[in-house]
């Protein structure tokens, strides 16, 4: 190369445009616009977008610099050569907006983009919201909740009826209907699916999540500046039909929506290299962002599930009205609209009773579609229509604990412990996620538990620190019929995998997998449950493999702060010389502060006992 050529090249490399180009190619906003946030096993980064037409450069998914150069060339292409909606400016308005702001492309670029203009016009002066759907134990992918984007026209007060007709943007994996659960789980964790953003009116999502899956929803709004809002709306346009890699733990609805908010606000919403991203973590992170006066996320409205509505309607009835409700509908097959207890009440009471029964029936039909209650429903409907309308049929459903106020999923605790023989020790407990039967959060699925990675360390006097319990996962669903009205046969179940001491004595440890099923029901303010099933045990001292486990208990929310779970367990195995008979467990939790609990536990079997009293801090 001649000296002249070298000089020209150096000048080109050092030119303001070249310097700016290098700067912009690695700029967080440019990387976010390309969704350049995936890291492979070798540490190489690339875009999470798999659609080839999302990039102008053939190597654009891996090379942000090449994509930047090619984008500039395409955006600056002569508009006269393109028909309406065909110019690259119409396809990538957010890229154009940002590159204009950076002075990297001509500020006067313009093309005819009627479809884009229509989209921008429809979403002008809108508010962007987030809808959180609480966890759903009917599908492992939904255990930790779900997050959707929501677009509302500005100026309207948030309300359930208004939200139904507003825009809802969902991010989810495209799973063929033929894929079974196991295949779905395997491919979901390993990146075997792609995912897309989809747009629809919110009522469709509300029907699925709140009315069919019985999940409470919370709608929050983002406090965005106008230019941030414009930028996000334009980028959402760019994402229509774009396919992303889907990874259940890290490339899911929460992480993708979190990254969109990062793009719009230039704030860090997600941790740098998260092992997994839960929807509620995004809500909590956003609530902590912004100033005290104007947090990035502001509280919106609670959209109760059909289950919550039905339960609330029943609980709103007076004792006489409840009694009459049971007289009218004593069991699934029988309906007595001439019951004296019912007819003797005022018209408004009868209307309230029938509203409650109809709401409960709808809950039943959706959670137990096999039930034949169509005639019961018809007669109740006709009877209700005989009475005058009674105002708001939803009623004021009590506000459940908002997502951002519920207990964080992890905790660490310390307790004093005593056991048979008068020994005293110290125990440390910790959990990675998520909630348990004593968490008492109404924002979670009621009477359910989902614990991931929990451990229990003990130290007694002279002995070494011992790992008493390591739970890999423990899922429990005791969901009963909401109240004493006729219900379907709802299965309660429990599944867990743990490594633990086999009983209250040391020196015998087991891997224990349990799969139990049973029934639960309400008795006044208590939830009574019974579970029975298989327990597979791999012992350190025996070859025993399989046994049966039976467990029955009473779960009680004494008040807003005090909760207890008293249960009796026994395990039956063919040969078990260490069998210490049934074990009684009394677990309690008292809420001292929003993130602090006192905890107490007592375990008693035929010959031993152990008790502990301590404090748990959630984080």
């Amino acid at each position: 190369m001649t000296v002249f050529a070298r000089t020209i090249l150096l000048a080109a490399l050092l030119s303001p445009v070249a310097v700016l180009s290098d700067e912009l190619a690695g700029h967080p906003t440019w990387l976010a616009l390309l969704h350049h946030d995936r890291t492979d096993l070798l540490g190489n980064t690339r875009s999470a977008v798999v659609s080839r037409d999302f990039f102008f450069s053939p190597n654009g998914s891996k090379d942000p610099s090449a994509e930047l150069q090619r984008t500039r060339a395409m955006l600056e292409a002569d508009p006269a050569q393109y028909a309406d909606n065909e110019h690259p400016l119409c396809r990538f308005p957010a890229r154009a907006m940002w590159l204009k702001d950076q002075g990297f492309v001509d500020d006067d670029l313009h093309a005819e983009c009627s479809s884009l203009d229509e989209w921008l016009g429809a979403n002008k002066n809108s508010r962007i919201g987030l809808v959180f759907a609480n966890g759903y134990l009917g599908n492992p992918a939904s255990f930790f909740g779900h997050l959707l984007l929501h677009i509302s026209p500005d100026g309207l007060l948030p309300s359930e009826h208004a939200s139904l007709l507003e825009k809802s943007i969902n991010f989810g994996a495209d799973v063929p209907a033929s894929d079974g659960l196991l295949r779905y789980m395997a491919l979901g964790v390993t990146g075997g699916y792609t995912a897309t953003f989809s747009e629809t009116l919110f009522y469709r999502n509300s029907q699925v999540y709140a009315e069919r899956q019985m999940r409470d929803l919370w709608l929050y709004y983002l406090n965005l500046e106008q230019d941030q809002l414009d930028f996000l709306i334009k980028h959402l346009w760019e994402l229509r039909g774009v396919e992303f890699t889907y990874l259940f733990l890290t490339e899911n609805c929460a992480s993708r929506i979190g990254r969109l908010i990062e793009l719009a606000t230039s704030r860090e919403v997600l941790p740098a290299n998260p092992l997994w991203v839960a929807p509620e973590a995004i809500i909590l992170s956003l609530m902590a962002e912004g100033s005290v006066e104007t947090p990035l996320l502001r509280e919106g409205i609670h959209l109760p599930s059909r289950r919550s509505k039905a339960e609330h309607k029943y609980r709103s009835l007076s004792l006489d009205e409840r009694r009459a409700a049971h007289s009218v509908w004593p069991n699934r097959e029988e309906l007595d609209l001439d019951a004296e207890a019912f007819l003797s009440l005022r018209e408004s009471s009868r209307a309230a009773i029938l509203d409650s029964l109809l709401s409960h029936l709808l809950y039943l039909r959706r959670s137990h579609p096999e039930l034949e209650v169509a005639q019961v429903q018809r007669r109740l409907l006709a009877a209700r229509l005989d009475l005058p309308p009674s105002g708001d049929s939803i009623g004021n459903v009590p506000v459940a604990v908002p997502v951002h106020e519920m207990r964080p999923p992890s905790y660490i605790g310390v307790s004093g412990t005593s056991r048979t023989g008068g020994e005293f020790g110290i125990a440390v407990t910790a959990r990675a996620a998520q909630y348990d039967l004593l968490s008492g959060d109404s924002a979670r699925m009621p009477y359910s538990a989902l614990e991931i990675l929990a451990l229990d360390l003990e130290w007694f006097g002279e002995s070494n620190v011992k790992l008493n319990d390591l739970t890999l996962f423990s899922v429990t669903s005791l969901t009963p019929v909401p109240h004493r009205l006729p219900g379907g046969r709802r299965l309660s179940w429990h599944a867990s995998l743990a490594w633990r001491e086999s009983d209250l004595l040391f020196n015998d440890r087991i891997w224990q997998a349990e799969l139990l099923a049973g029934k639960s029901g309400r008795l006044h303010d208590h939830l009574v449950y019974g579970l029975f099933g298989l327990g597979a045990h791999a012992r350190s001292t025996l070859d025993e493999a399989l046994g049966f486990t039976i467990r029955g208990g009473v779960l009680t929310n004494w008040d807003q702060r005090l909760r207890s779970n008293v249960f009796l367990s026994d395990r039956f195995a063919r040969e078990d010389p260490r069998d210490s008979g049934p074990q009684l467990s009394i677990h309690g939790r008292y809420s001292l502060a929003p993130r602090t609990d006192l905890s107490f536990e007592l375990e008693i079997d035929r010959s031993n006992h152990q008790s502990s009293f301590g404090i748990l801090q959630y984080f």
Partner: protein, 170 residues
Amino acid sequence: MIFTLTTMNEAYSMNRLIAIGTVSALLLVPQALMAQNKDINPWQHCGIGAAIFDDNETAAAISNVIWDSGSTAVTSATMTPDTCSNKAIKVAEFIDSTYETLAIETAAGSGAHLDALLTLQGVDESDRLIVISRLREDLHERASDERYAEISHSDKAFQMYQSLNNAAEI
């Protein structure tokens, strides 16, 4: 022979033309009439129904993707701008998706879904009580008949759609 063939071909062509004409007339005339008929059934004529009302809840729950654009239901439709206007489709889709909830809210006389439906239909605030009253009367009449329990989902939804169109004509 050739003549005959030609004649046959012509006759065949003519018959085909007549047949096409007749079929077209049968299709077009009712459509033209339907275009002016407020009783058009979007479930039958606009492709609403199965495509929207997804019974495969497991698949829906697994994928978290329920509908891809909000308008995919109108695929195999014989939709024309006259017979299946955008508003009619939106109202019909809403009723189809939320019928069970709408029925109990109509019985109670109010509710979020009922409000949303009236908004979608463009019913003024001042007319809503009357419209709701008419919807209740119609539903009462239908629910008083034992056969109501056996009617298909789409027929019930269509009845409410008709009822709303009639009630909204104030």
